[in-house]
Symmetry: C2
Subunit: 371 residues, 2 copies
């Protein structure tokens, strides 16, 4: 690929302005170092308030955050937007981890009608979901198979029926982030509009009966902050993790209609690790006590956190930055105040995992006027 | 699971001492907050030097870091160690993401003879590897299949032949960390000794011809520091990412013997994102220029970094903390100084991906005296 023109930002100074970090806050030396010594200072100044470190990569005129009723985008077709002007200038775009390319696949023909994207960690669960949704929407035919659109790779699996796309994302922030970069570009190349994206997943609950479903109000990090932080070119960049409030209410109403399982609205803590990162005592490494763990989980509960998983913060941040209406719906497989191991019988866990699927299936059916 | 006794650490004060952070450096309030406000300060004090923030979770008497020739462990059987005293007291240990449990599987019988563990992102690549190694070691029989030991889940895939275990880990630090917690516990429960673990993966190169293989000298983060940082109970914990120097030299010698492709020893940068996190211009989000990207990649090159991937830092940190002899061997699929997209023909990329397998296959054969 040749170097691409960048009409949006053209100098290092502007990049720093966009990142809301003065040059001194860079985590790297301002020029390429002569030697190989790592930089002495490694963390951003804790005195800089979070909102000052927030970044908008959107070009002028594009609002940040998901569309709302007050937002002019809600009154017209809302095309999927990228926060990257380079992509429009590319002759070919290889979505490597999907094994799809704009030069070999007709994205508008394949995906142009997509209105709902559901994502989840496990490939087999996302296959189960597409079959369930097909039946719910009356689009299933006896013996029909749903081919994996990403059959050329085993990184992710993707299935489609009617206006619904179902995509796996693996486990953890980096894995779902790769998928979302390529998914959002796919929707952009396909010229999709008015897309709603929902993560249907599993999680550990805090103070909830196992099997309860949590609709995420706010995705927060391991310090309970509603932020997603990453390192871009050696600088700390922080993005908001707000989700669509109206969509939360619509999903809660669907659960009330279904009346099949307990559903709550609460904050979701997104961590980078399943064991130490979530205060578990049963990993290969652990250097704290049950008492320390309980203090942390109770502090989380007091901060409005009702479940813990590993993808919601970057999901909220990236969807928000690209104007996608997004929600997170996770079932809790255990109550972390009671233990760490997931040792319920397989059939119990399997039924729990269907609950977000049933809720979101009902939501899609209702949205399409078929409920 | 009932709360477990913790003979190693018994008070919050001792936890803080173990974490080498004074109470004021905690990212959370010292007790559960009364309200739901997030803490005001969110980052550790940049004035605290990295080595002071390093943590050893090992009980007294267990050395940190991989064994060396000078280390008494090198002279006797080196059993796989956990850095968590709780596990020994557990009646059952469910390795949830492997769909294996100590109460339903005989770990010593299944895995007790394992001496080499090879891990990589893609399940199909790890299946290819076990078939390749079986043939190389003369352990393959015509028409033999290698069943997936983790067939009860689609999170990871695991294959075994003779003393070699081949396990997939998905993409990114969180995904490989979950796998490593459960893998190290599996090796511990199986009472394995003298285990060597090697990650065989793909990466983006910096200033190398595509297809070159990089043996990692040091795994560094996106700020070029040889550290792995994570949040544990709201506190920043930093671990060393040193790898076994002797193993690097042994692997380099194997590549010289093979004489099939270019191999270099260099530092490997481990990032949390494939697009913005690696300075790519072709993601769904990007707010910097080609010039900024080139400055960052050239600074990385000057710091001795020869390739970029997404798992090496936590791999080095966890294996080091548990006394496993570990190495990272990745092929470069492209030169990032020349572009961002991976658009070489499929058959070229497929051949590149075999290179770490051939190198490590030769190493295992030689170690077993069969080369």
């Amino acid at each position: 690929m040749q170097p691409l023109p960048d009409p949006f930002l053209s100098s290092a100074e502007e990049v720093l302005r966009a990142a809301c970090l003065p040059p001194s806050k860079s985590l790297l030396p301002s020029a390429a170092p002569a030697g190989s010594s790592p930089p002495a200072s490694s963390v951003a100044d804790p005195g800089v308030p979070a909102q000052d470190r927030a970044v908008s990569c959107l070009p002028p005129g594009i609002l940040s955050g998901p569309p709302t009723r007050e937002d002019p985008r809600a009154y017209s077709d809302c095309l999927v937007q990228l926060s990257n002007p380079n992509v429009a200038a590319m002759k070919e775009d290889v979505l490597y981890h999907f094994s799809l390319s704009t030069s070999t696949h007709d994205f508008p023909a394949m995906f142009g009608d997509v209105k709902f994207v559901c994502v989840g960690g496990s490939p087999s669960r996302m296959n189960t979901f597409i079959r369930y949704v097909a039946a719910e929407l009356g689009l299933a035919h006896p013996g029909e198979e749903y081919p994996n659109i990403c059959a050329g790779t085993d990184r992710y699996a993707m299935y489609k029926v009617g206006p619904v796309l179902s995509v796996s994302h693996g486990m953890g922030i980096p894995s779902i982030a790769i998928m979302l970069h390529e998914l959002i570009k796919l929707l952009y190349h396909a010229r999709c509009s008015n897309v709603t994206i929902i993560r249907i997943g599993t999680s550990g609950g805090i103070g909830l009966e196992p099997g309860s479903v949590v609709i995420t109000q706010q995705a927060v990090d391991a310090c309970f902050k509603p932020e997603f932080e990453q390192i871009v070119l050696g600088k700390r960049v922080v993005r908001s993790t707000n989700l669509d409030e109206q969509l939360v209410q619509e999903l809660m109403q669907c659960s009330t209609n279904l009346n099949e399982f307990t559903t709550v609205v609460g904050n979701t803590m997104c961590t980078l690790d399943f064991y130490e990162g979530q205060g578990r005592l049963d990993g290969a490494l652990c250097c704290y006590t049950e008492k320390d763990k309980q203090a942390y989980l109770h502090a989380a509960h007091a901060a409005g956190i009702r479940n813990i998983e590993m993808e919601s913060s970057v999901f909220a941040a990236m969807c928000g930055a690209c104007g996608l209406r997004a929600a997170v719906v996770c079932v809790t497989l255990l109550d972390r105040l009671q233990g760490d191991q997931i040792n319920s019988p397989h059939e119990v866990l399997a039924e729990y995992q269907q609950r977000p699927q049933r809720l979101v299936g009902h939501f899609i059916k209702k949205s399409l006027g078929r409920a």
